[in-house]
């Protein structure tokens, strides 16, 4: 196909870009990076911050580069005196209405506004600092809104309403009183917010962030009576590099484990172990539903943001959810029962910390039903970002640190568990196991590439010894909603559906290092599959520790103990939905 091109001049540089490109894109092609705040590569153009304004010859008004299409022969000046003067004035205006507490802001050194202020050399401000005086909203105990810091770019609103179709946030008021706020004047917890934390990635400043629990962690490791154990989710390793100055996917697992020991964790175990276990439980649950005429399609249940979404928006379809707890919660209940027994440790002394790419995991761990071990199953959830901060606080030098291995009983895992971190991964892991269980044959090729990648909804049909199993994978709740609407209408052709709340899956979770665009998510996904390839065992049912837990403790998938410790139930949330 032939793409027609437009020629123009930007700062004297002749550029040729595809028709319909914006000045912003053309400037990038010319090697000029323009400042942006409301612009987001994966979102609709808003053009409301005006920081990208440029001069276009023949136009009296400055034009926003993000929203202005190029025309043939256009002459653009991106850095004329007039432009720089306007941009600096705009920055001063934003700054004078924004708390200038950068030093103790959670986004210090990772803030788009701070970066621009530095780049534009804003040294003084003629305007008196005016604050809006809002209280912080920590009603969800997972996602915190600090409204005073909001610069009303509205990226979070689009994420919440368009990407996730949750509609918890809206724009209210007008003039200087305009604000992004939870809908209907409610606190965030009272809205339909599912605490996925995708708004955190959208925010250019520190107006939305995780409920930070570093102090609780430090208190636990300082307490001699507590035995601090940890699990790491599969998506953490590929992203943690962003927090400690290492390229995406480059952090070796052994160094990560060693780093966790440095910050005071006594035993380092892996969520991947229970991810493998999930495949055994969930795979068998699927087969049972198919054989016994249970509710189909069955939905995966690993993603707590997705569970919140289903309980809020599709309470009539809760029976379609797998009853399996998420790997985090399976780990939590087993750590204080099975693992404590094996280690001969009093479970009341165990302080179970999970390291998650996710803000919704904080909510999930605090669910009142998650105490099947007789204790709160997971005591604390730290996000990848919080762990990154701890590594920096402890001066962990990952170049020099000696790698370490996982501790016993719940530390071994397969490539099938690794890919849980990416969209399609749970499905692929399940297919690897279910295929072999049903057919009794060994898979020649374990790679089900059809369910991989950033496509919003992926479908496949797999032949299992004559049974055509139709599966679908959706990530990002706008995609999940399409699949769910189909189920609700009684028109779903699927047996099994994997849903992950966040775009790209857990690698793009709300607790990950600030993820500015989907391209970054795709990069992490590549890191996940590289790790899978490198695993000596790539099928969950071949995990030796999983085999052991069934022989020593659980006895069989879906058995009595499993039912008690590894499965859960769901309840409608009865929230106002918009």
């Amino acid at each position: 196909m032939c793409i027609s091109m437009t020629n123009l001049k930007i700062d004297g540089i002749a550029v040729e870009v595809p028709d319909g490109s914006t000045i912003l894109q053309a400037a990038q092609a010319a090697g000029i990076n323009l400042p942006t705040l409301c612009y987001h590569p994966d979102q609709a153009v808003k053009a409301n911050c005006r920081i990208c304004v440029c001069e276009v010859e023949g136009q009296r008004l400055l034009q926003a580069a993000c929203s202005t299409p190029v025309t043939g022969g256009m002459v653009v000046r991106t850095n004329s005196a007039k432009v720089l003067k306007a941009r600096r004035m705009i920055l001063k205006l934003i700054l004078a209405h924004h708390p200038q507490d950068c030093l103790n802001c959670i986004r210090n050194q990772n803030c788009e506004l701070q970066t621009l202020v530095e780049e534009y050399g804003i040294r003084d401000n003629p305007f008196e600092l005016k604050l809006k005086g809002y209280d912080e909203d920590n009603s969800t105990m997972a996602v915190v809104r600090d409204q005073d810091k909001c610069i009303v770019c509205r990226r979070c609103v689009e994420t919440c309403s368009v990407v996730q179709t949750v509609n918890a946030l809206c724009v209210e008021g007008r003039g200087p009183g305009v604000m992004v706020t939870p809908v209907l004047g409610k606190s965030l917890a009272e809205t339909a917010c599912i605490v996925c934390g995708q708004c955190i990635h959208a925010c250019p400043v520190g107006a939305i962030h995780e409920h930070e629990q570093i102090d609780e962690f430090l208190a636990a490791v300082a307490d001699p009576d507590k035995i601090v154990i940890t699990q790491i989710a599969p998506a953490v390793r590929v992203a943690i590099g962003d927090e400690v100055g290492m390229a995406t996917g480059e952090m070796p697992m052994g160094k990560l484990v060693a780093g966790l020991r440095r910050i005071g964790i006594d035993y380092v175990l892996h969520t991947n172990f229970t991810a493998d276990l999930t495949i055994l439980e969930e795979g068998n649950e699927l087969l049972r539903r198919v054989k016994e005429g249970g509710k189909l399609p069955m939905f995966t249940s690993c993603s707590p943001g997705w569970i919140n979404f289903c309980e809020t928006f599709f309470p009539d379809l809760l029976d379609n959810l797998s009853t399996c707890k998420s790997p985090q919660q399976m780990f939590g209940s087993l750590a204080k029962t099975y693992w404590a027994e094996k280690m001969e440790i009093d479970p009341s002394r165990i302080y179970s910390v999970s390291i998650m790419p996710c803000t919704a995991k904080k909510f999930e761990a605090a669910r009142p039903e998650m105490n099947d071990s007789g204790f709160r199953d997971v005591d604390l959830v730290l996000t990848t970002r919080e762990i990154g901060r701890l590594f920096r606080m402890f001066g962990t030098d990952f170049d020099k640190i000696e790698p370490s291995g996982f501790d016993s009983w719940m530390g071994k895992y397969t490539g099938a568990a690794v890919i849980f971190g990416a969209t399609g991964g749970v499905m692929e892991a399940a297919l690897r196991t279910v295929y072999e269980v049903v057919t009794g044959e060994t898979l020649d090729d374990v790679n089900f590439t059809v369910v991989r990648g950033m496509e919003g909804i992926k479908e496949a049909t797999v032949n299992l010894a004559g049974l055509e199993v139709r599966v679908a994978v959706a990530h990002g709740l706008s995609n999940a909603r399409k699949v769910m609407d189909q189920v609700r209408a009684g028109e779903s052709p699927y047996h099994f559906v994997e849903i992950m709340c966040c775009p790209g899956g857990c690698i793009g979770g709300g607790g990950q290092p600030i993820t500015k665009c989907n391209a970054k998510r795709a990069e992490r996904i590549r890191g996940i599959y590289v790790e899978d390839e490198q695993c000596p065992i790539r099928k969950s049912h071949e995990n030796p520790e999983v085999k052991q837990i069934y022989s020593d403790f659980l006895h069989e998938p879906l058995g009595h103990k499993s039912h008690q410790l590894l499965h859960t139930h769901y309840a409608p949330k009865n929230k106002t939905i918009l």
């Binding site: 005006r50 926003a64 003039g175």
Partner: protein, 407 residues
């Protein structure tokens, strides 16, 4: 002595607005009939050649707007009458709608035929609910008479936001969202209401169409200023003897408006300034009163014709208070979407307040100028671009720190 020329107000005060028969007796709906007998291209060419330009403030050639909409592809097209008359001191659209609602509806139907639109909306400011009642009654009568053919008109009430006078914010409001301007392009003639090609025209513009169709483009283009032909309906407020509305040809000067139609300044006081075009208009000093009430003539003196409001200030008015009041208006009416307007209107108002209590310094004026000049070229829509005009022109033409008198 200049005389009024009533084209837009031809029937106002002469017929009963709620009796369509009286409008028909006065020749109403004959122009629509005539328009419908013409090929659409010819009708559009006629309107284009008349030189009629939008009376809402932007002054865009109406025929050209119709042509763009006509040429745009769309299974459905719309005509919107902008009756969100929100400029303080402006009530010309109300006078037209109250006195001759059928003229506006007929104008819409002419546009509808020209561009191929079968649906029209009148977006009426919520404060004019009693005008909306008149419009609804008039629409019902026109429907009953069958004069509109397949053209349907509906009245939409605004919700009190000044920014909804901006055509894309108005469209957002009709669609049920926050009244905020959209990115342009695409402009409404290509993608407007519900994403369809849409003509958005002011009440006064539409009321001009039936006489233009009836009497022809040559007749109209010969009236008033050649580059902005026709008349303007002006509303006189403030320190002027006759606080009235008039309709005058566009070659009338501001001085004639104030002194001949308005009867000058009351109480033997001296003139200080006049603001033409609403709150976002320039504060004009005596030396520029020779400007004509035409789009380009006003632009040539750094002012705008805008909504046709004429707000006169005598020598006793403290300009510091005047601009402060205007600045607070914009702070309140900014929709808050774009940074320069959201933050700039507030800062301008704050500094104006400082100046108004006598604490202003030269540096404050410099800062006002710096904010204002940035807003004028960097804001998202016309509201923010025009909001600093009173302050900027007060600084340019007057001794703002002193509060009054020419600099």
């Amino acid at each position: 002595m200049p005389q009024e020329l009533r084209i837009v107000l031809r029937n106002v005060g002469k017929i009963d607005a709620l009796k369509i028969d009286e409008y028909l007796d006065a020749g109403g709906y004959k122009p629509l009939e005539k328009a419908r007998s013409m090929p659409q291209e010819d009708l559009i060419r006629e309107i284009k050649q008349s030189g009629l330009r939008g009376r809402g403030g932007a002054g865009f050639n109406t025929g050209q707007k119709l042509e763009f909409t006509f040429r745009a592809a769309g299974d459905q097209k719309y005509v919107i009458c902008n009756a969100d008359e929100g400029e303080p001191g402006t009530y010309k659209d109300r006078v037209i709608m109250q006195g001759d609602p059928q003229a506006v509806i007929e104008g819409m139907a002419i546009c509808g035929y020209a561009v191929g639109a079968t649906r029209g909306y009148i977006y009426c400011r919520a404060e004019y609910s009693y005008v909306a009642d008149i419009l609804k009654a008039a629409i019902a009568q026109a429907k009953e008479k069958g004069v509109l053919g397949d053209f349907e008109v509906e009245v939409c009430l605004g919700a009190g936001a000044y920014v909804c006078g901006e055509e894309t914010a108005l469209i957002e409001s009709i669609e049920g969202r926050r009244g905020e301007p959209r990115c342009k392009p695409p402009y409404p003639p290509v993608s407007g209401l519900w994403g369809k090609p849409t003509v958005v025209a002011n009440v006064e513009t539409l009321a001009n169409l039936p006489p233009i169709v009836e009497k022809g483009s040559e007749w109209f283009s010969g009236i008033g200023a050649p580059a902005y032909p026709g008349t303007r309906v002006l509303t006189l407020t403030g320190d002027v003897v006759n606080r009235i509305f008039i309709e005058a040809p566009t070659d009338t000067t501001v001085r004639e408006v104030i002194y001949d139609f308005g009867g000058g300044i009351p109480g033997g006081k001296k003139f200080q300034s006049v603001q033409v075009g609403g709150n976002s208009g320039a504060l004009i000093p005596e030396s520029l009163l020779g400007a004509k009430i035409a789009f380009d003539a006003m632009a040539a003196v750094g002012a705008t014709l805008g909504s046709g409001a004429v707000f006169v200030l005598d020598e006793t008015r403290d300009l510091r208070d005047v601009v402060c009041r205007m600045a607070r208006f914009f702070e309140q009416e900014s929709c808050g979407k774009c940074t320069p307007c959201r933050e700039g209107t507030m800062r301008i108002a704050d500094i104006c307040e400082k100046v108004s209590v006598g604490k202003g310094r030269a540096a404050d004026l410099a800062l006002l100028q710096e904010i204002g000049e940035m807003m004028a070229i960097a804001c998202f829509c016309g509201l923010g671009q025009a909001a600093p005009t009173p302050v900027l022109t007060a600084i340019r033409h007057f001794d703002l720190l002193g509060g009054k008198g020419c600099a």
